[in-house]
């Protein structure tokens, strides 16, 4: 047998793409998990349409899953795919611009028939020529007919047979990248434990795909990506929404509070609600409310009653919750609001990522209504920022808005599992002395009031949405309103005492500081790292704390000649910074395509700034 060409790579990006019914999300997830188990660092990006089943075979119905893995730490799911797996012509059309020059396209040649070409709106019978993909390495594989052949003795109907074709593709890709199949087999065994025929059929097709690659190796290059050098420890893969859910659980355990989640299903935040609904074993109370408003208000009720109370949502839901968050501001109750951002305005792009809710989080309420705003920056650090958001809420008696986004929520990466012992303590401000208790008596340092809840004898008191004096009695006194407005704002600002200073990645001073916040971290850090390798005088500062800003922000900014604020909106963080620190000039890099930055886009904008 001829030796196959083995290509050794630092990092590889693969994009699985097909009809939304083709099982591409599962295929991509299984490949990623098998890869992570081998010790490669990974980063994934599911890119799917908002319709559950858009018309079959159309470009609108294409569902994609991109994963980058490497021997180094991987911070992004990759700009462009080295390998595209296309299950139909529409997948080629939808992904043509996401393939690396010289990349490989593996496609199901059976599906490139007249009907599917028409559905994908190709004018000719050559999909690749129409998409300018002539120079790419294309591997036609009759995946549908090989799958049928593979399962001909199983007595399954045609529909069930074709449902397994994603396993053929997965087997083939596993061969290409030297991934063993045992993890995937184990998964199939568990998932279809009650349907042994389905397990057997899928495993058969998986192996046939793998063997097909081996047999036909004269035409498919095999890639070798060695394991990444990462810190010793126990690892798992985790996506941002699960990490958020688990961070909240950790905070509840650490603070000794029961966890209550009031929420209403909304893409892409729903997974947090389902992840916590699974955790009755840890005593979580989840409440699927009748609407977004009841989601947050039930949480406010639970907070009034002494729970660590949370509501989870995405942009449109945050808009609906605005008035109630104002109540939490006024009542000074601990509350965590998680906003998994998506493309807006209105229903916008529900399944695509964006950072356009920043100003809504900061200002989207009536009156002077300050809340703490925190943002996670990687899928796994959603755990830490959900924990931290809870800590701030409980220790400072304030609503905290945690910003993640669709890219973080659905994206996954390997995560070194922390232990509860290494997490900081959380000390809720529970009132101790009924004789000294006043509903709004404040700690002189933090300005936080004390928390007394029904059931605590001797602390009975009334609170509400009306302005009040120190005892909680309604007050329309003009001086008192001014004073309390300032208290509420300063209470939020003093949270700066419990957050870390802003770190600079690279040199502490120089030409250009690339500034970002939240989910753009991976792409920005990768871009800056590459620029620095090229000898460019560029550093990176990434914000996880938006309100309040880290104390040393101005100090950091002052050491750079140019600051460029990169964000997936029209410049919301930049405008906030201009308001908070008008002494600096802020350049901008903005993108509103429902997609993350690419590393290349960031680099190009920095090159341009260096030239100016």
């Amino acid at each position: 047998m001829k030796d196959a060409k083995v290509i050794e790579l630092e990092e590889v990006t693969i994009r699985f793409s097909g009809d939304s019914g083709d099982g591409m999300q599962l295929t991509g997830t299984l490949f990623s998990d098998a890869t992570a188990l081998l010790g490669n660092d990974i980063s994934t990006f599911p890119d799917y349409p908002s319709e559950i089943r858009a018309p079959q075979g159309t470009v609108g119905g294409v569902s994609g899953f991109q994963v980058q893995f490497g021997k180094r730490l991987v911070n992004t799911p990759g700009d462009l795919a080295h390998v595209l797996i296309a299950m139909n012509p529409a997948a080629v059309k939808a992904n043509a611009k996401f393939i690396n020059p010289g990349g490989t396209i593996i496609y199901d040649s059976d599906s490139f028939n007249e009907r599917n070409m028409k559905k994908a709106n190709f004018a000719t019978d050559d999909a690749f020529a129409e998409c300018n993909l002539e120079d790419f390495f294309k591997i036609p594989v009759p995946i549908s007919s090989l799958t049928k052949e593979s399962l001909k003795d199983f007595g399954l109907d045609n529909k069930s047979v074709l449902r397994s074709k994603n396993m053929f593709a997965l087997g083939l890709v596993c061969w290409m990248f030297n991934r063993p199949l045992d993890y995937i087999e184990e998964f199939l065994n568990k998932k279809f434990a009650k349907k042994p025929v389905v397990v057997e059929a899928n495993i058969k097709v998986l192996h046939d795909g793998f063997n097909y690659g081996m047999t036909m190796q004269h035409m498919t290059p095999s890639y070798l990506v060695n394991p990444a050098v990462i810190e010793n420890g126990t690892y798992r893969t985790i996506n941002g929404n699960h990490a958020t859910a688990w961070g909240l659980l950790a905070a509840a355990e650490k603070s000794g509070r029961e966890l209550f989640l009031g929420s209403y299903p909304i893409t892409p935040a729903t997974d947090i609600l389902s992840a916590l609904s699974e955790r009755k074993d840890l005593g979580v109370k989840t409440f699927q409310a009748e609407d977004e408003i009841a989601g947050v208000t039930s949480a406010i009720g639970a907070s009034f009653a002494g729970d660590l109370a949370v509501t989870t949502t995405s942009g449109p839901g945050l808009a609906l919750k605005g008035e109630a968050i104002g109540l939490a501001v006024m009542a000074e109750l601990p509350l965590v609001v998680v906003n998994v951002q998506r493309g807006g305005p209105s229903t916008g792009l529900p399944t695509k990522t964006e950072q356009s809710d920043l100003l809504q989080s900061l200002y989207g309420r009536n009156g002077e209504s300050p809340a703490v705003v925190v943002a996670a920056s990687t899928p796994s650090d959603c755990f830490w920022y959900a924990f931290k958001a809870s800590q701030i809420a409980l220790e400072r008696m304030v609503p905290v808005i945690l910003m993640t986004d669709g890219f973080l929520g659905n994206g996954s990466e390997p995560w070194k599992i922390p232990t509860m012992a290494e997490l900081p303590t959380i000390t809720p401000r529970i009132a101790k002395d009924p004789d000294l208790f006043k509903a709004y008596k404040r700690d002189p340092e933090t300005l936080a009031r004390e928390w007394a809840y029904p059931g605590m004898k001797g602390f009975e008191h009334r609170i509400g949405g009306l302005e009040k004096d120190e005892t909680g009695t309604v007050s329309h006194d003009t001086e008192n309103h001014q004073l309390n407005t300032e208290y509420r704002e300063n209470k939020v600002r003093r949270v700066a005492d419990m957050i870390p200073e802003l770190e600079v990645c690279g040199d502490g001073d120089g030409e250009i500081l690339v500034v970002g916040w939240g989910g753009t971290f991976g792409h920005l850090v990768s871009a800056v790292r590459e620029l620095r390798k090229e000898g460019k005088n560029v550093s990176h500062a990434h914000f996880n704390y938006i309100k309040p800003l880290p104390k040393n922000t101005a100090e950091v900014f002052g050491k750079f000649k140019k600051i460029i604020v990169c964000e997936l909106n029209t410049g919301q963080f930049a405008s906030y910074l201009r308001n908070e620190m008008p002494e600096f000039k802020y350049e901008q890099l903005n993108k509103l395509k429902g997609l993350p930055f690419t590393v290349d886009e960031v680099k190009q904008s920095v090159y341009k700034l260096l030239e100016d």
Partner: protein, 347 residues
Amino acid sequence: MIDLKYTVKDFKSDSEVRWCPGCGDYAIMNAVQRTMAGMGVPHEKFAVISGIGCSSRFPYYMSTYGFHTIHGRAAAIASGVKLANPDLSVWMISGDGDSLAIGGNHFIHLVRRNIDINLILFNNRIYGLTKGQYSPTSARGFKSKTSPFGTVEDPFIPGQLAIGARGTFFARSIDGNMKMSQSVFEEAAKHKGASVVEVLQNCVIYNNGIHSAITDPNHRADRQLYLEHGKPMVFGAENEKGLVFEKAKLKVVEIGKDGYTIDDILVHDATEVDPTLHLALINMQLPDFPVAFGVIRNVEALVYDQELVKQIDEVQQKRKVTCVDELLNSGNTWEVTGNGTPDSVSC
């Protein structure tokens, strides 16, 4: 046993009550305080939650834990309070605007879920706090500042909504009759699940006398039917009138006339699961019928907050994961060992 002998005074706060002189709210609050004093529940376990409106100032005048929230949302907030701590006695104070207009969605879902909350709905058929606009319980043609030529819409009948939302408890009282109010509040408190009590309340400023046709002392006996479980549905000064159910409809008859005897008169069964008759009683209106008061419906059903706790207990009996450390290490994990110098993310 701790001695829990309270008086009405134990439930009054120091705050000056600022309802208009003559407002029906005073009497309702008094009946609530009397009810609470007699419940045998420790004072600190009461939580009174309200929305927005005149009646929603209620918690400030109570000495219990209280939360005056935002317009329409009291039902959802009270739900959160009760679910967080099912041990509490949670009372929700609301009005026709708060619960049936802006908060309609939360109202029906609280009732449907059957969370153990006592909901007192002050129905004055007007927006009082905003100075006199028609409400969702104002009659068709009602003239107000926002309906100078009369409304062109039909009102809600709160009990219909409660039944439609699969309500397990519905009672009706009237502000001036404190004895009746206290009695139905006591039943509401005993009922496990969402208890809705509609109290016909008079707004002296913007809708004075709206219920006077019902309350008029000269006609009260003929116009009010006080329902008691297990007792015949009779009314009138001499209890000479009663209700029968004929051709799938309620009918008022005179006992001793047209061959009707007391044995023909319906006997009230508040515990009947089938809501048909309860709904018919709720729908009775002047002048053809008396208006029904008392506990109209009081049926047993599974209670959300109890079921939630039960489910958690059941899952915990069989649980494999007992703490967050175990959760984090559950499922697919792998060890990385022998790496001396890890890559760092630094640039």
